[in-house]
Each structure stands twice: as structure tokens, then as C-alpha cells.
């Protein structure tokens, strides 16, 4: 390899023209981060989709039929129908949270993927927004659609109206991926995520009306539940899937969006401090 004549010429020695994209200002750069994550997901698509389908199916069949057999009608509907709306929210929350915690943290701290992206003409905001939309919209929607299919399959919902939960699924996803990204950008190891699940996600699951109506909770706890974002997701989704009028749709949407936007804005600031100090 010391023979200079044997060296391959440098590909395109023009110097910086190829990389200067004419649409540099126009393109929505977080899309490149979403695209990257999508290509990885596509490689593991099969197992991921099976998980998305089987997990809620087991919950719905096990709890819905098993436990439902002992229960009277809840809110005037069979327990399975009541539970399905809650499961849709719970699975969406989980799916977005897992992606924005463990997976995003791997890309931030273990694989240094974010660092690599920042060596290209991308900013911390591009990266965090991309992760937020990937976990909160794409992954949440994948899991939401899977559960909706299960619900159609079990005859819990029919017609076209239940499809209007899909924008709500995205709202729930963006809400929880935003909050999770704050934890991720602060985290120094995967251990923080176990705490977050134990202290935030699990109480959220039990207090937000996923498994039982919130009005069976004591008054004080019910007040706490009202500030939990998942409660607002459950209210929207249950209203839609049970075909009932929504009580406070704008408030519900505002709370979910507020948590999500606040979370991602904070995560961008923290990530900037962490990566560009």
C-alpha cells in the first residue's frame, strides 16, 4: 500500500460541493432521525409487531373475559369493552415510554448515535425532535393500531367511529415520549428508568382509570388522578370507543399536548447542555 500509484483516487475531490444541500433550509431535518430509526425497526419488524399484537390480546382475553366474568357491567358496558379503552391508552403509553427511554438512551449514551448525527449538519433540537416524533407518533401509532385491530377482532368496537382514536393515540404517545425524553437526557444509566416506571408509570396505570372507573377511588386520590395525563387520554379514548359524548375534549387535548410539549422542550435544553458543553 506504499506505492502511491496504487492508491485509489479520492472520490470526488471537488471539496464540499456534494454536501451543500440546496434544500438545506427547507428540509425538515428531524425526519432524517425518524427515517434512521424506522430502518432499524424494519429489520426487527416481525418480532416487534407480534409483541404489539400479542401483548394486548393476552391482557384483554385474560382480564377482560377472565376477570370480567366475575364483574357486573361497568359504566353500563361489559368489562371487556370498558377495559379495552384503558388498555389502548396503557399500551400506547408503554410503547412510547419504552422507545423514548431504553432505546433512545442506547442511541444517546451507549451507541453514541446522537453524537455521530451532530457531526453532520444537524442540531440537538433536530435529534431530540426526531426521537420525540418517532417514539410518540410512529411507535405509539403502531401499538395503537395493533390494539384497535384486536378490539375489532374481539367485537369490542365496530364501524368507523373508533378510528378517530388514532389521533388521540398520537397525542398520548407524544405526551409520554416527551416526558420520557426528559428522564433519558438526564439519565446516567438504565437504572433511572426502573425508578421512573415504578414511581411514575405504574401509579399512572392504576390511578388513571385503565382498569376501573376513577370514581371508585377516594376523593383525594381522584384529585391527584385529574392532573395525570393518562386520565385525560383514557377519558378521550373511552368516550370514543364506547360511543359516548366527550365531557372535556379540549381540556383533555390541552393537557396531553401540554405535557408533551413541555417535556420535549425541556429535553432539548438538557440534551444541549449534555452534548455541547
Amino acid at each position: 500500500m506504499t506505492d502511491r500509484s496504487a492508491l485509489q483516487p479520492m472520490p470526488g475531490a471537488s471539496g464540499g460541493t456534494l454536501g451543500v444541500a440546496p434544500d438545506a433550509q427547507a428540509r425538515f431535518r428531524p425526519l432524517q432521525v425518524i427515517g434512521r430509526n424506522f430502518l432499524v425497526w424494519r429489520k426487527l419488524m416481525f418480532s416487534s409487531l407480534v409483541g404489539n399484537l400479542v401483548d394486548p390480546l393476552i391482557f384483554l382475553v385474560g382480564l377482560g373475559y377472565g376477570l370480567g366474568a366475575f364483574l357486573p357491567a361497568l359504566d353500563g358496558v361489559p368489562y371487556l369493552n370498558f377495559l379495552a379503552a384503558g388498555m389502548l391508552c396503557y399500551s400506547t403509553m408503554n410503547s412510547a415510554s419504552f422507545e423514548a427511554l431504553w432505546s433512545a438512551y442506547s442511541r444517546l449514551a451507549v451507541q453514541r448515535t446522537w453524537e455521530g448525527i451532530l457531526h453532520a449538519p444537524m442540531t440537538v433540537r433536530d435529534v431530540v425532535l426526531g426521537e420525540w416524533l418517532w417514539a410518540g407518533a410512529c411507535k405509539a401509532l403502531l401499538s395503537g393500531v395493533a390494539i384497535l385491530l384486536v378490539m375489532y377482532g374481539l367485537g369490542v368496537v365496530d364501524g368507523l367511529r373508533p378510528l378517530t382514536v388514532l389521533p388521540v393515540v398520537v397525542l398520548i404517545g407524544l405526551c409520554f415520549s416527551g416526558i420520557a425524553l426528559v428522564v433519558t437526557t438526564l439519565a446516567r444509566s438504565y437504572d433511572s428508568f426502573t425508578y421512573y416506571f415504578t414511581l411514575v408509570i405504574t401509579p399512572m396505570m392504576f390511578l388513571s382509570g385503565v382498569f376501573f372507573p376513577r370514581n371508585s377511588l377516594p376523593e383525594a386520590i381522584r384529585l391527584v388522578a385529574r392532573v395525570l395525563p393518562l386520565s385525560h387520554g383514557v377519558d378521550l379514548v373511552r368516550g370514543i370507543t364506547l360511543g359516548r359524548p366527550l365531557e372535556h375534549p379540549l381540556l383533555n387535548i390541552a393537557v396531553l399536548l401540554g405535557y408533551g410539549l413541555l417535556g420535549v422542550a425541556l429535553a432539548i435544553r438538557i440534551a444541549r447542555r449534555r452534548l455541547t458543553k
Binding site: M10, A24, L39, V40, T113, P121, T276
Partner: protein
Amino acid sequence: MTDPVPTAAVLAVRELRKSYGGVPAVRGVGFAVPAGECFGLLGPNGAGKTTTLRCCLGLTAPDSGTVELAGLPVPQAAREARYRVGVVPQFDNLDPDFTVTENLVIFARYFGIPAAQARANVPKLLEFAGLGDKATAKIDALSGGMKRRLTIARSLVNDPQVIFMDEPTTGLDPQARHLVWDRLKSLLNAGKTLILTTHFMDEAERLCQRVGIMDRGELIALDSPRNLIEREIEPQVVEIYGDGVRDWAAAFGRTASSRIEVAGETAFCYAHDATALLATLDGWPRLRALKRAANLEDVFIKLTGRDIRD
């Protein structure tokens, strides 16, 4: 110290300062790199090399001072400047979820390069990196040297004017290092500007037209390796080691050499003519001597000392 900024500079750094929690990391560094040069930033651990590099790329905002990269002010227009810049980081951050080819194509997307164009460039890049037969290999299947070459290939996806490399051969075996050097020379022949940090003086001496030596956040020397050696140090070095080296040094060290340093069991003797010095060894059969020409490492040690920096 500061050197005048030529108009054709690809990188111009002036009076750069950066502190972390009140502790200065970079204290008034200034230098300029003309197009086509290989510039090396040397210094012990903690000298401020990596901080300087990060400021140049706009990944860290300096407390004061200015950086101009590819004609653009940094950090203000750092993102735009990076369209013309390649980066080879100290720690590989290749994407382990992707194959060799996918790594190049996906990195090109971050520059807004269309996938078809990026894919068309892959064979040339892999050929250049000596990875022509690894197009579909997983990253885990590559050796350390291959990963480094792929990272270099990745830094070229946007056909940059200037490439920053943070310790490009650290952790590689000698064969892999020589191959990387060879590739870097080929980049220089193609007219690219290289800015690298390194701990290896032979690497700097071999590749760099000019080196800047940093210590404690300051640039303490800036010139070609040859000029630094001529100016800073005696031309001949004799390393003497073995039992009784300290006795010999006490008896002859000061008189036979113009400068002597004893480190551990070795005496480093610097001289303009080592003949007389070598003659003093006749009565010391247990001592061994190695005579060699002064090199950049001698300059580095003279300027930054022998103390360990952690």
C-alpha cells in the same frame, strides 16, 4: 501564541478561551490552517486539544474568541459549516444496527444527500477505505482498524473540504496504523485539509506539515516538525541505560552533553556532537547506549516535561 491568519485559511481560530466551572481548559489559543495542509494538535492529556477541536466544530461554545471554519463564523453558522466538514471522532460511533453500506447511506441522509446519490458513492468510498469486500458486513464483524477506516469513509460522504480527526490511530495495531496513515496521505494528495490531534509523535512528524503543541490550555509552540526540532533541541540524542547509569551521569553527564535528563533507569543526553560522549562509556561495560537523531518527541518532552498528566 498566535500566528497571522492567511486569507485562504480553511480554519482560523483567534484568542479562543473556554473554562469549565471556573477551571480554564483553553486559554487564548489562536492558529490558522491554510487549505491543503495537514495540521496536528499535540499535547498531554488535559492540554485542551479536544476542547479546542469541539470549539472549532461548533459543538462547544467558547467563552470568548472567534472561530472561522470554511469561511463561516462558528458557532453561529456551525451547522452550515459542517456541510463542508468531515469528522472522525476519537471513539467510534458507527451505527451497530446497520451494515457497512447502510452506515454510509444513512449518514449521507443527515447532509440532505438523496439516497440514490449516496448509494452510488458507496463503492468508491469503500474502495478508498479498503473495505470493498465488506459492503454487506455487520459493524460487529469488523476489526478495530476496519471500523476506523469505515469512520474515515463515513466522514467523506459529503466530499468535505476539511476533515477533523481526534486521535485517528489510537488503539490500532501497527499494521492498521500504517494503513490509516496511507489513507490520510491519499486524502492530502487529493487536496483535502486535515486537522488532527494525536499522542503519537511519529504520526505527527510523518503526516503534519505543521504542528501546534498545547500545554495547560495554551499553544506553546507552532511550526513544522523539522523547524521545531532544529530550533528547540540539540540534533543528537544518546539514550544510556543499564546498571550504574546514575553513577555515570553524575561523573560525565553534565560535561559530555549539553543537556541531560535521567528518567527511571535511562539517561537522555542531548548533544550537538555525541562523539565525545560515547567515548566516556568505554569504562562502563554494563551500560548500553542508543544514538539517534533528535525527533519531535524530544521537543514535546522538553516543552511539556516528563511528568505524568492524568
